[in-house]
């Protein structure tokens, strides 16, 4: 609006313009009525893009010195090299020349779009041989300042005072020798102490949205790993859970630790936009403690899945199987016709090449030694037999091999201390219409690795589950027909027969489809999950007797604590109701239940292996009575205290309730008349003889019982 307009308008409205104090007029905050402010500051809305430094510039030295005629050619060569590594900014390559002669000075500046590209270009081309006499020396422009200011005299670097790290294994020193477990329910992830004495859990750490998919303990229990969009993170510490390290890997889906928890393998797969393409897979291997990425693997899912293309969508996890015991020396990958074994010193292939094994479909490491077992199925319609072989790593020497005929499938099971390997062999019957199963048992620690063939009493029984006793010589098999299969126990070693497998016994018609050995052996749970609705049988294999039969209705998961003292059974959110977990003692006594809606996961914190020698452990087992006395006394004290506390708590609750009832009663009394009025003056029976009724109560019960019994008799 021009000034004239304003004046005329003011005149129209009869306002004396000169008397209006413009400064007294304020617009309501945040409202400008569409009037543009002419304040200087407002025009600075469009932020200028400032160069934040020279971090994206590199200096390339040791270039050939060329005359003007060859300047363009050299420039093109440089552009060609560096364009592969990043986007050079427009006019971003500047090669200074001697102003007198027009000859280049042997160096140039290159400006990239981002500092990351510059860094990458520096790393990749430092030391690049253009020809014999010209080896690139590449530096970041920013580094020049720093390098120029180096002091002439050498200064001893300051020694930082030693900061002791947190004791990451403090949980093992718990006075009550309890174990920890992690659970996820709803948005929360919680770490809890299992406190069987208090018949409850004690919280350690709780955090909502701690992870975006799941959590996992490291194999020795030191770390808890959480997954996020940006990557994985490990948590741990002495008293509470603090973040110890992060591993950048966008959209990480799965993680896996090496058995000695030195390395973390992360996995991510990208669904292809075209469904016919294989999905893209990226796997990274990190050093857990330093957080450094040691190696990454990229490729299409086909290269990482077993059985060749068209088999499984995505890779079967874990892609890399760790071997070589707790030293984390080797890891192996199976792909079509090859087994690639990497060693962790260089993160390269052993002998720089993969092993060629035609049609290999399965590999399995010994849990303690660097021995790899592999299975090759039948070829050429039975002309070439199937084969199970043991290969020593890194020598790649075949220790033992066995050819098997008319085989449909094999499954390999290592015993936890690497002493035995059981191979379940499914063979075709003569008609080829059905299969039957047997076992090939390898004794790894004996000379020449003898193999024994075991067939079940009834050859045609289907095998439903198989499990080795941890650290022991026994194994259990569920075999036979659903819904009531049999469970048999065998031992590899008996007093009479040193080296022969012997059957210990068979339990007939059990409602079981899964086996869960205690980590310390001797005890086993025969579980009927899924169709069997959570039947549990706690069985002592030493005595061959059932300790308890019980049920955790609809249980989906069963996990022993690392010491073999307690078992947790859980109903996860695959079912809608009764979500939560139950903790039992090893002999099937129910200790406590925890109900949690939307229950997803339960995992006990593993413990590292004991430092005690087997002899020492045996000695302790022998003198168990001596040691257990102390704990029994403690248990007694706690249970006394607990019942005392319980009584107190109940008393308090009762008192609180009584108090509330009294308070309400007095109010009720006050309102008595009003109530009567509402009822047209009728007095309620309850109010007439409130006190009397109470006293009569006990007597009344007696009467009632008589009445009900008569009814039943009718």
């Amino acid at each position: 609006m021009a000034n004239i307009d304003i004046d005329s308008r003011a005149a129209q409205l009869g306002i004396d313009w000169s008397q209006v104090n413009l400064d007294s007029i304020h617009l309501p905050p945040g409202e400008d009525f569409g009037i543009q402010s002419d304040d200087e500051g407002v025009y600075h809305d469009d932020q200028l893009e400032f160069d934040t430094g020279f971090g994206n510039i590199i200096v390339v030295d040791n270039l050939p010195v060329v005359p003007k005629a060859k300047f363009e050619k050299l420039e093109n060569v440089l552009k060609k090299i560096y364009n592969q590594l990043g986007v050079i900014k427009e006019n971003g390559l500047w090669m200074p020349v001697d102003p007198d002669t027009g000859v280049t000075l042997g160096y140039c500046f290159i400006e990239f779009n981002t500092p990351q590209e510059a860094q990458n270009a520096k790393e990749k081309t430092h030391g690049y041989k253009l020809d014999k006499s010209h080896i690139f020396a590449v530096n970041m422009f920013d580094d020049f300042d720093r390098l120029m200011n180096v002091k002439e005299e050498w200064e001893a670097p300051q020694t930082k005072p030693y900061v002791p790290g947190e004791n990451l294994q403090k949980w093992l020193t718990d006075e009550k020798a309890r174990d920890q477990l992690v659970i996820r329910s709803g948005p929360d992830t919680e770490v809890l102490w299992n406190d069987p004495r208090q018949k409850n859990t004690e919280p350690v750490h709780k955090r909502p949205y701690w992870t975006e998919s799941y959590v996992q303990w490291s194999p020795l229990g030191t770390y808890l790993v959480t997954l996020h969009k940006q990557g994985a993170a490990v948590w741990g510490g002495a008293d509470t859970f603090t973040r110890l390290m992060r591993y950048q890997h966008n959209m990480v889906k799965l993680v896996d630790f090496s058995p000695g928890e030195k390395y973390l393998v992360t996995y991510h797969s990208q669904e292809p936009s075209n469904p016919r393409d294989a999905s893209k897979v990226e796997i990274k291997v990190f050093d857990v403690r330093t957080g450094r990425m040691m190696r990454d693997f990229k490729g299409s899912a086909d290269e990482f899945s077993i059985g060749g293309p068209g088999g499984v969508a995505g890779a079967s996890w874990p892609v890399f199987r760790w071997g070589g015991g707790k030293e984390d020396k080797y890891f192996a990958k199976l792909s079509k016709n090859t087994i690639s074994v990497y060693e962790t010193e260089t993160f390269g292939l052993i002998d720089k090449k993969s092993m060629k094994v035609d049609n290999v479909v399965d590999i399995c490491w010994s849990p303690t030694d660097s021995i790899l077992s592999l299975f090759v199925p039948e070829q050429g319609g039975g002309n070439q037999p199937a084969k199970v072989a043991l290969v020593q790593i890194p020598s790649k020497v075949e220790l033992r091999q066995k050819n098997l005929f008319s085989v449909s499938d094999c499954k390999m099971y290592w015993q936890s201390s690497g002493e035995y390997l059981a191979v379940k062999v499914d063979r075709y019957t003569k008609t080829k219409k059905s299969t039957y199963s047997g076992f090939e048992l390898f004794r790894i620690k004996e000379r020449d690795i003898p193999i024994e063939v075991l067939e079940l009493d009834n050859k045609n029984d289907k095998i439903i589950a198989f499990a080795w006793e941890p650290k022991g010589h026994r194994f259990a098999v569920i075999h036979g027909d659903q819904p009531r299969p049999d469970v048999s126990f065998y031992t590899m070693k008996t007093a009479q027969h040193g080296g022969r497998v012997t059957k210990l016994g068979t339990l007939k018609a059990k409602q079981a489809n899964a086996l869960f050995w205690s980590p310390s052996g001797k005890y086993i749970i025969l579980a009927g999950l899924k169709n069997f609705n959570g039947q549990l049988e706690f069985f002592n294999v030493d005595e061959m007797e059932t300790m308890a039969t019980t049920e955790h209705f609809m249980a989906t998961d069963i996990e022993w604590d690392p010491t073999g003292r307690y078992v947790a059974t859980a109903v996860t959110s695959v079912h809608e109701m009764e979500n939560g977990f139950t903790v039992w003692s090893f002999n099937g006594k129910l200790l406590y239940r925890v109900l949690k809606d939307h229950f997803f996961q339960l995992a006990w914190r593993p413990r590292p292996a004991s430092f005690l020698s087997p002899e020492k452990e045996e000695e302790i087992a022998k003198n168990l009575k001596k040691y257990s006395k102390k704990y029994e006394a403690e248990d007694q004290d706690v249970s006394l205290l607990l019942s005392e506390q319980d009584r107190e708590k109940r008393k308090a609750l009762k008192e609180e309730w009584e108090k509330w009832v009294m308070q309400w009663k007095s109010l009720h009394e006050e309102e008595k008349l009003e109530r009567q009025n509402l009822r047209d003056g009728e007095i309620s029976d309850e109010e007439e003889d409130d006190e009397e009724a109470k006293e009569v109560k006990e007597v009344e019960f007696e009467d009632v019982i008589d009445v009900t019994e008569e009814i039943v008799q009718e």
Binding site: D597, H668, E674, R675, V704
Partner: protein, 346 residues
């Protein structure tokens, strides 16, 4: 009765406490109500005919014919002469209990979900469902002494602030001064019964997280208990000033019905897996069990199994010596407690 609290002491009481099965309805039960003397039991079901039973032996006394839709709720007057029922046929009807004759019919534009007589039986509160463009509402009707004088006008109509969500239950507060309602939006509300003003809402932090399915007052009107699909039942201090949460009972399954013993400090919860999922799972998966809890200690003390579908209705006899449950399976099960029940100590 199954005692569940001390796990090793678990015992089956099945043989002793044999329930009386009352098969009179052809469709799932919806509501059960004892009269004040405890000799009559009224049952409502989706099969249009509320039924009256002898509460002692379970014999059928008679039916109330006239509704043309599922009957959701009923209430009986203090003198046991009048019955009021709310039905999906968009009406609430007054009945003469003696003759079974219909006395009056309140017409609404949407199904009537719950009914409750006030102290003195001169007022009744009726809730209606959201239907077409109507929102859920609470109606207060004056009940005339002589049915001839009965009028259908409402004394007061309360609109829920969350009207598209169904109000499942509304009952009278002490001295008829307030009305308490709960429904699909999981919020308990206390209204002034005179002015219709909203006085208080339950705290969403401590309250239910899912649809409130049922609301039952204690015998002395001092507090009430609510059950919800969020698998808990909560007892709330029944006070127009506080609406304080006193106790929570966790059941692990959706709760459809709740009741409190007038005699002992016990509450009972009934419910189970949603009826639509029953056929796909094992019959034991549903947990169609009436669960008993100690009211003060909030500990589960036992359960009564038997229904072959979710429990939709529960009621205690006013003498506290028997209770009945109504299920999706169409049965009413009448249980007279045995001596063990009265000797439960935890």
């Amino acid at each position: 009765m199954r005692r569940s609290s001390p796990c090793d002491k678990e015992r089956a009481f099945k043989e002793k406490m044999r329930p009386i099965l009352m098969k009179g309805h052809e469709r799932p039960l919806t509501f059960l109500r004892y009269n004040r003397d405890g000799d009559m039991l009224f049952s409502c079901a989706k099969d249009h005919t509320p039924t009256l039973w002898y509460a002692d032996n379970g014999e059928r006394h008679g039916t109330f014919r006239g509704h043309n839709g599922a009957v959701w709720c009923c209430d009986v007057s203090r003198d046991s002469l009048r019955l009021i029922t709310g039905s999906a046929d968009q009406s609430a009807k007054l009945w003469d209990v003696k003759t079974g004759q219909q006395l009056f019919s309140f017409k609404f534009g949407s199904p009537a979900r719950s009914v409750d007589f006030a102290l003195g039986d001169k007022l009744a509160v009726i809730t209606t469902d959201p239907f077409m463009e109507r929102t859920s509402a609470i109606h207060v009707k004056r009940i005339a002494e002589d049915p001839e004088d009965q009028v259908s006008e409402s004394v007061l109509v309360l609109e829920s602030p969350n009207g598209r969500k169904r109000i499942n239950r509304a009952v009278w507060g002490p001295l008829n001064q307030t009305i308490v309602s709960g429904g699909e939006d999981a919020v308990l509300r206390i209204w002034d019964a005179e002015t219709g003003k909203l006085l208080k809402e339950s705290d969403s932090e401590v309250g239910h997280k899912n649809t409130i399915t049922s609301l039952t007052k204690s015998a002395d009107d001092s507090h009430f208990i609510t059950g919800s699909l969020d698998k808990t039942a909560k007892a709330c201090l029944w006070d127009m000033r506080t609406l304080t949460l006193l106790k929570t009972y966790v059941s692990g399954v959706p709760v459809n019905a709740v009741s409190m013993s007038p005699l002992l400090d016990h509450v009972v919860l009934g419910g189970g897996q949603d009826a639509s999922a029953v056929t796909t799972t094992d019959h034991r998966a549903g947990k169609f069990e009436a669960k008993f809890y100690d009211k003060i200690l909030q500990e589960e003390i036992g359960g009564v199994k038997g229904h072959f579908g979710p429990i939709n209705a529960l009621a205690f006899n006013p003498d506290g010596k028997s209770f009945s449950s109504g299920g999706e399976d169409g049965y009413v099960r009448l249980h007279h407690f045995d001596s063990d029940y009265f000797n439960i100590r935890i």
